[in-house]
Symmetry: C2
Subunit: 403 residues, 2 copies
C-alpha cells in the first residue's frame, strides 16, 4: 500500500473534514464523513454486552432510515460508554446538530465514539465545532488524511486502504480507514472502520458483502482478546461512480466483494501491526481441522495466549507453548498427529520436536511478519487469525492510559 | 503463614529429599516425597488435551495401585511433554528405579515433571541421582524445605502451607507445597502441588475432599489464562497420626476438608502472589449473578483481561475496562444494574461512574492485595477468582525463557 492516498483513490460524491474540538489534550479529535446524496449503508457493531451510547443510537438510526445514510460523525478522546441517559442524549444531540447543518434527517447520521470508558462526554465541545466542521467538508486527499488522524487514540499511525474494481467497464472505488490498537478482539464487528464506495449496490447486498468480508478480516484479528464496547464498521455506497447497480450475487457482486476484502484485510492487518507495543504481526493458520469452528477456536486460543505472544516478542521458537495453547482450547484433537511450522521452518512433527537450527529460527522470527502453521491432520477445515507480539511496551501503555 | 515450617507441621510417617541432578543449569531440580507405609492417594491432573508423559503415567499408576501410593518423584527443568514414546519410557524408568530403591511396586510411585516443553528429557541424570536421593530421605523440616525449592522453575520463592485439625482428640497434620508462576490457569488441577497428611481416610473420601477443595482454591486462580500440560496435585494420607479413620461425610470429614482448604487456599494465593512479574494479588468477586456458571465466567474473563491486568500494574482505577471485560464474557446481564467496588471504594453505581477521589483510589490500589467486587444485581450466585497484575517484568521473563 502506498504511504499516501491519491486523488484517484477517493470515491466520487464523498467529502471529509476533521478538527480539534478539545476532547483530547491535543490534536484532531472530531471527524465527519458525508455523501453528497443519501448512500446505501451497512454496518456491523460490537457484540459486547456493554454497548456505548453511539453504538446503540447508530443501530437504531440505521433501521429508522431504511439503511440510507448521509454522514458519519466520529469523536476520539471519549468512548461515551457507561454514561447512561446523558450519554444517549449526547449522541442524539450530535446527530441532530449534524443533520440540521447538512439539511437531512437525524437518523441519516451515524455517530461513533472512541476513547476512555465511563467518563461523561462534554458534548458541547462537539456541538460547538460542528458548523465549522461542516463548512470544511471537501473531497480532497488532505481532508481524508485529516479524517484518518482525527479518529486515532493509542494508534501510532493512521490506517487507510483503497481498491478499485470495474463493473461493466465503469470504475468503482472503495476507500477505507480504521482506528484501533488496544481492546482489540472484534468478535462481530471491530474498533472503528469507515468504508466509502461510489459503487451502486442494494442495501441488502451491501450488508451481506460487509458481513462476509468482515468475518475474514476485521473479525480474524486480535491484539489482546478484549472486545471493545464501541466497535463499529460502516460502509456507505452512494452510486456516484455511475456504474451499473449491483442487485444480485453475480460476477459484479463477487468483483466488488474481492475489492472490499482487499481494503478490509489491509486495514485489519494495519491494526494488528499497530497493536499496542507490537513489534511484529503473527499469522496463525490452523489447517487439517475437523470443522471451521475447531480451526478458529484453536487459532484464536494460540493468538491470545500471553505465553505465545511474549515468546514472539523475544523471537523465541518456543513451539511447546503453541501446542500447549491449542491443547487448552477446549477442542479435542490428537497431539501426536500435529505438525507445526514457524516462520517457514518445521519445528514440530507428529507432536514431537523436529530438529531445527535455533539461531536460524530466531533470526527468521525477528521479521515484521511471522507465519505459524499448525496442521492437526484431523480433517480439511482451516482458519487464519492475525495477532501481534506482546511486549513490555504494551504494559507501559496500558498501565498508564489514564494517569 | 510463618516463613518457615516447624517440626510440628510435618505429618508423621513422611520423608523428603532433594538434590541437584543437572537438569537445571544450577540448583536443586529433583525431589522425592515418600510415606513410610502405602498411603491412600488422590490426585487431580491437567485438562489440557496435550498431556505430559508423567501425567499420563501417574494417572495410570493411581488406578493400577488402587490409589495406594508410597512416593512421589518430581523433577524441574524439563516438563517431559511432547516427547513421545521416549518421554513415557523415561517416566516409567524413573518410577521403576524409585520403586526398586524403596522396595515397592512401580505403580506405587507417582512421577511429576515441570519445565520446558518439547525437549527430550535426559532421564539418565535422574536415574543416576535416585540412589543417593533415597538415602537422604528424612522427616526433618530442612528436607521438606529443600523439596519445596527443588520443584521451582520461574518461581521466585518456595510455597508451602500447613494446617492441623483434631479428629476425636487426635491431632492430624496437613502439609503442602506447590510450584507455579506462569502458564497458570488450572481448569481442573493445577501446576504442581504436593499435599501430605497423617490423617486416616478412605481413598474415595480423600478424592472427594481434594476435588471439592481444589475447585475453590487452585482452580480459582489465573496468572495468564494458559493451562499447563503438566498440572498435577497429589494428596497422600498415610494414617500415621493414629487418628480415627474417616469413612463417611461426618463432622470429622468436614473438619478435615476445612483444614485442607486452608492449606490449598494459602498455596493457591502464594502462586498468584508469585505470578511471573506480579506486584499484587487481585481478588475478583462477582456477586448477584443468576448462576454459578455466570459468576465464574465473568470473574475469569475479568481476571484474564490484559487491559484489566495492566491497569492494575499501574494502580489505575480504570473500572470501564472491568465492565467492558464482563461485557465480552458471553454472559447476558444488564450493564445499567452493575455496581463495582475497587479496593474498597465504590467507583461504579448502576453502570455509571460514581464520583470518587482518583488519588485515594490509586493509593489504595498500590497495595499487595486489591479486592474487586462486581455486583450484577441479577441473582444470588457468586464466584471468586484470584489473579495478579500484568507487568513489563512478565513480558521480560517470557520473551527470554529459553534464550
Amino acid at each position: 500500500m502506498k504511504s499516501h492516498p491519491s486523488r484517484a483513490d477517493i470515491p466520487r460524491g464523498f467529502a471529509f473534514a476533521a478538527t480539534a474540538c478539545g476532547l483530547k489534550k491535543a490534536g484532531l479529535d472530531l471527524a465527519l464523513l458525508t455523501s453528497d446524496t443519501a448512500a446505501a449503508a451497512a454496518a456491523v457493531f460490537t457484540t459486547n454486552r456493554v454497548q456505548a451510547a453511539p453504538v446503540r443510537l447508530s443501530r437504531e438510526s440505521l433501521k429508522k432510515s431504511g439503511h440510507k445514510i448521509r454522514g458519519v460523525i466520529v469523536n476520539s478522546g471519549n468512548a461515551n460508554c457507561c454514561t447512561g441517559v446523558q450519554g444517549i442524549a449526547a449522541s442524539r444531540k450530535t446527530a441532530a446538530k449534524v443533520s440540521r447543518t447538512l439539511g437531512c434527517r437525524p437518523e441519516e447520521i451515524l455517530v461513533c465514539s472512541t476513547g476512555v470508558i465511563g467518563v461523561p462526554l462534554r458534548v458541547e465541545k462537539i456541538l460547538n465545532a460542528i458548523p465549522q466542521l461542516a463548512r470544511n467538508l471537501n473531497p480532497h486527499v488532505l481532508a481524508f488524511e485529516r479524517f484518518t488522524r482525527a479518529i486515532m487514540t493509542t494508534d501510532t499511525r493512521p490506517k487507510w486502504a483503497a481498491a478499485k474494481c470495474s463493473i461493466r467497464g465503469k470504475q468503482v472505488r472503495i476507500l477505507g480507514c480504521a482506528k484501533g490498537s488496544g481492546m482489540i478482539e472484534p468478535k462481530m464487528a471491530t474498533m472503528l472502520g469507515f468504508l466509502a464506495t461510489d459503487a451502486a449496490i442494494s442495501p441488502v447486498l451491501l450488508s451481506k458483502a460487509l458481513r462476509t468480508v468482515v468475518a475474514r478480516t476485521f473479525n480474524a484479528i486480535t491484539v489482546d482478546g478484549d472486545t471493545s464496547t464501541n466497535d463499529t464498521v460502516t460502509l456507505l455506497a452512494n452510486g456516484a461512480s455511475g456504474a451499473r447497480r449491483i442487485t444480485s450475487e453475480t460476477g459484479d457482486y463477487r468483483k466488488f466483494c474481492a475489492a472490499l476484502e482487499k481494503v478490509c484485510r489491509c486495514l485489519a492487518l494495519s491494526i494488528v501491526a499497530d497493536g499496542e507495543g507490537a513489534q511484529r504481526v503473527i499469522e496463525v493458520e490452523v489447517r487439517g481441522a475437523a470443522s471451521d469452528y475447531a480451526a478458529d477456536k484453536i487459532a484464536r486460543t494460540i493468538a491470545n495466549s500471553p505465553l505465545v505472544k511474549t515468546a514472539f516478542a523475544g523471537a523465541d521458537p518456543n513451539w511447546g507453548r503453541i501446542l500447549a495453547a491449542a491443547g487448552r482450547s477446549g477442542i479435542s484433537f490428537e497431539p501426536g498427529r500435529v505438525d507445526i511450522h514457524l516462520a517457514g521452518i518445521r519445528v514440530c512433527r507428529r507432536g514431537l520436536e523436529h530438529a531445527f537450527d535455533e539461531r536460524v529460527a530466531h533470526r527468521k522470527m525477528l521479521a515484521k511478519y511471522v507465519p505459524v502453521i499448525m496442521n492437526l491432520r484431523a480433517g480439511n477445515r482451516a482458519a487464519r487469525v492475525w495477532t501481534c507480539d506482546f511486549t513490555a511496551e504494551y504494559v507501559r501503555i496500558n498501565a498508564s492510559y489514564r494517569t
